[in-house]
């Protein structure tokens, strides 16, 4: 009670102060004087405080925690406009868009206001009185509804060479009681900014039993990821969502807590643990964003059972829509592109491409398939098994025999891990090579990808953001001789086991998605459409 009165008094004070400040600004602009940096910062802070107070007055009576949570993210928000460089904030802070959503909007508004003020100040350098009107008119115009200036925070997993970022991560993981995984082996210097883990030391071995901080189904999932038992972006996302369903089922709201906020906080250590086991894929990132949004949208009056049921339904419908129905839609489009007598080349094991080929075979299309595989993962053998079981005629080669086999091929179907906003296709390493050679032989390349794998990152080469797999996988024994057996002891030898690479859009002729058949360069259009829908 006393608080609200105090706040009202404060707001009145703020209002008067604010008016004074406004007068000051208009006076300063009228005189053509530029505000100094400190004055600008002070103004920004006051404006922010004023807005916050206005919101608090207008909003429904809120609990203590809300008040605490809103100023806390607003503090980094006030700092970030001052620091123009992106601060490497930890993954959990960046991945909790729910808590940051409200201040994010005001942050964006603030930035737009500041931009408008800068524009007007720039115009006021010649120093005319009409600027005053210009500034007031430009301020409301620049409220961003479409141009959301996103501060891109650098993800942790590409900052391994920065000791400050590593320390921050270690502290965060300690707080969340998640074990920190250490790198293994000599890293090639070009990739010193990425992690390189060994499959023999999964992080699950470092957790004490009984596990209190992490749910057992998440521990199991993490182990399956780190050992490669679950691989492939669709499989990983589906497994993740099922594990989250289990978590939600077992969750019980502690007293004095809101489900919509507490559950999100419970999920953060799980996500850190999973990303320690294996870096998250783009599809998993989108799925997590969706779940967090759904959780935070649960109204407060909802009973726990009702809320849980609703969340389970949301997850089920997400899987159904984005993965299962999407693959059926893509198959429908793709089958139009397969004609009788075709020789189709596929690479590795993509669940979507396998599904398309099986569907086409059931629809009585006559074609044969060439499966291209590569060391060390040899995923193509799995695809080969599935296709042969269906009864499709297959040929199998390694990727070094590509130039030999390509003159026979009429089409190439490739799967994707993610589609980047600049049109590049991120997929299993070797995909770009296949696209390159296919282009040289004038064979059309079709990429099949669901829209939930589209991501807003941009990347031009395979170095800046990638995943390094266990280097011991490259060791092979032939005729009883293992040449690379003691590669760790040899000083100048490094083994590089990349997982992903990016294919430039000029190698790709068509992308088949559940929204239709689009060229590679239309990815940002689809992203924009999706954001508007949401």
């Amino acid at each position: 009670m006393a608080d609200s009165v105090g706040r009202q008094v404060d707001s009145i004070n703020h209002a008067t102060e604010e008016d004074e400040k406004k007068q000051e600004i208009i006076r300063a602009k009228g005189e053509g004087k530029e505000l100094t940096k400190e004055e600008k910062q002070r103004l920004r802070k006051e404006k922010k405080q004023h807005k916050k107070n206005k919101k608090d007055d207008r909003g429904p009576p809120e609990k203590e925690k809300e008040k605490a949570s809103v100023p806390a993210p607003s503090k980094p928000a006030t700092q970030s406009p001052a620091h123009k460089a992106p601060v490497p904030v930890n993954a959990s802070a960046s991945e909790s868009p729910v808590a940051a959503e409200k201040p994010a909007k005001s942050k964006a508004e603030l930035r737009a206001d500041r931009r408008a003020r800068q524009d007007s100040e720039r115009a006021s350098k010649p120093g005319k009185k009409e600027v005053g009107q210009q500034s007031t008119s430009s301020k409301p115009k620049a409220t961003p509804s479409e141009l959301q200036p996103v501060v891109k925070r650098l993800p942790e997993h590409v900052q391994v060479d920065d000791p400050a970022a590593l320390k921050k991560l270690a502290k965060k993981l300690e707080r969340q009681q998640v074990p920190l995984r250490s790198d293994y082996g000599y890293k090639v210097s070009l990739f010193s900014h990425l992690h390189q883990y060994s499959r023999k030391n999964p992080p699950t071995q470092q957790i004490s039993i009984p596990v209190t901080a992490i749910h057992p189904s998440i521990v199991r999932l993490g182990l399956q990821y780190s050992q490669g038992i679950i691989a492939g972006s669709n499989a990983r996302s589906v497994a993740l969502l099922h594990a989250f369903k289990q978590v939600i089922q077992d969750y019980s709201t502690p007293p004095n807590e809101e489900l919509s906020r507490d559950l999100v906080n419970k999920l953060s250590p799980y996500i850190s643990f999973l990303s320690q086991c294996r870096p998250l894929s783009a599809s998993m990132g989108n799925a997590i964003k969706y779940i967090k949004k759904e959780i935070s949208n649960i109204p407060n009056q909802c009973k726990e059972e009702e809320a849980k049921r609703r969340l389970q339904e949301c997850i089920d419908s997400y899987i159904n829509e984005k993965i299962i129905l999407a693959s059926q839609a893509i198959s429908k489009y793709a089958i139009e592109k397969i004609s009788d007598g075709d020789v189709i080349l596929v690479y590795g094991c993509s669940s979507l491409v396998n599904h398309i080929l099986c569907e086409a075979f059931e629809k009585q299309r006559k074609f044969r398939v060439i499966v291209v595989d590569s060391r060390p993962r040899l995923e193509g053998r799995e695809a080969l098994r599935r296709l042969v079981k269906k009864g499709i005629r297959c040929t199998y080669v390694l990727i070094s025999a590509l130039s030999y086999i390509l003159p026979e091929v009429s089409k190439v179907f490739l799967g994707a891990h993610a589609l980047l906003a600049n049109g590049y296709v991120m997929s299993r390493v070797g995909t770009s090579q296949i696209a390159l050679v296919a282009k040289a032989y004038n064979v059309p390349v079709l990429v099949c990808c669901e829209t939930y794998k589209f991501c807003e990152r941009v990347q031009t080469d395979s170095f800046v953001s990638n995943e390094l797999d266990d280097p011991d996988d490259l060791i092979v024994t032939r005729n009883g001789k293992t040449h690379l057996e003691n590669w760790q002891t040899v000083k100048s030898l490094g083994l590089l086991n990349l997982v992903y690479d990016v294919t430039p859009p000029d190698f790709v002729d068509l992308v088949i998605t559940d929204l239709g058949m689009i060229p590679c360069t239309s990815v940002p259009v689809v992203l924009r459409v999706k954001n508007v829908d949401q």
Partner: protein, 355 residues
């Protein structure tokens, strides 16, 4: 009778050589280097010249041609054998012409007029008997042998002209010529080497360990990552099995992908190949170009259930067209691929292209 013994000895040598050729061609990695094959072939030809019975140059050439046909039939993919036979035939022609006193060299000029007028008149000329022809031919073959001994050193001597410091060089598989080339450069310059392992035989692993012994920074990558890392590579240096008549290559599989990736990033592609690898073959001969080995390297017998329903291929060689190659480095210096036809005319006589 001594003559008969010598003949038996000779034919034994030839038979053992043929059987070795047949066995070594299974492609499972412990190949005899082509330099060794070339040396042994030349030594064998010298022996034939010394011990076989022949009266004039024409008969000698017949004998050598016959043995050469048998040797190339034993292992068609080992082209150095055929190349050495052709070199020796050219030597015989030259020595014969020198003994006769006429300058046969003028006949080598490719002129349409000369082709039409001179026609098949050279064939009958080889019937004349010259007493010193045998000695001359054997001496010339000895010179050829010394040249063969020094090819790798000649190529490595040029290494410092092409590699500067802090470069990133990419190579594929295992080539003794490239190994010597890089090791020679590493004595004076510091650079990095990326080796593509070249599945399924993974000769790249041997190459990497051998380069590491000379303290060269080496990285082994799987074949699938060739395009991904190509943007950071300054030069691509490869060896080859054969240099074809049009300037193209018959190299280990995966080389065409490497060449295309290098072209895409405008990275120079340098081929280190000694002259005895130059062959008058063209790449369009479908039947003889490709060589296949057992597909169990690709799809092992442990995958038994699907093995019977699947076609698996394991080709050994790749064709690289001359447009993708920047430079040939051989024991006689550096050449562009467009110059190869000229070098060939100096090494082999046009009538010997078909043995």
């Amino acid at each position: 009778m001594p003559g008969a013994d010598k003949e038996m000895d000779l034919s034994e040598r030839i038979e053992s050589f043929l059987s070795e050729l047949k066995r070594s061609g299974s492609g499972t990695g412990s190949l005899r280097g082509s330099a060794e094959t070339a040396r042994e072939t030349t030594a064998l030809l010298r022996k034939i010249t010394a011990q076989a019975r022949w009266g004039n140059a024409g008969e000698l050439m017949e004998i050598i041609r016959k043995e050469g046909r048998r040797m190339t039939a034993a292992q068609p993919s080992e082209t150095t054998v055929g190349n050495m036979v052709r070199r020796v035939l050219k030597i015989i022609r030259e020595e014969y012409a020198r003994s006769r006193g006429s300058s046969e060299e003028t006949d080598q000029q490719e002129s349409l007029h000369k082709l039409l007028t001179s026609g098949g008149s050279s064939e009958d000329n080889f019937r004349q008997h010259f007493p010193h022809l045998k000695a001359n031919v054997i001496e010339a073959i000895n010179e050829l042998l010394t040249e063969l001994e020094g090819t790798t050193d000649n190529i490595s001597m040029q290494a410092l002209e092409h590699i500067h410091s802090n470069e990133v060089i990419m190579t594929i598989g295992r080539s003794r010529t490239v190994e010597a080339f890089l090791k020679d450069a590493a004595r004076k310059r510091k650079f990095h080497v990326i080796v593509a392992e070249c599945a399924p035989f993974c000769q790249g692993h041997e190459m990497a360990t051998s380069l590491c012994k000379e303290d060269i920074e080496t990285t082994v990558i799987p074949d699938a990552a060739i395009f991904a890392v190509m943007s950071r590579v300054n030069k691509v240096i490869i060896g080859t099995q054969t240099v074809l008549a049009n300037g193209g290559l018959r190299a280990v599989n995966g080389t065409h992908t490497l060449a295309l990736a290098a072209k895409h990033h405008s990275t120079p592609l340098i081929v280190c190949a000694p002259m005895f690898k130059l062959s008058p073959q063209f790449p369009n001969e479908e039947d003889t170009f490709h060589k296949f080995v057992s597909p169990h390297e690709v799809l092992p017998f442990t995958e038994g259930e699907i093995l019977s329903k699947v076609n698996a291929h394991c080709p050994v060689f790749d064709y690289v067209p001359p447009e993708l190659i920047t430079l040939f480095i051989s024991n006689i210096g550096g050449n562009a691929p467009s110059y190869i036809y000229r070098l060939m005319s100096e090494l082999y006589h046009p009538e010997d292209h078909e043995l």
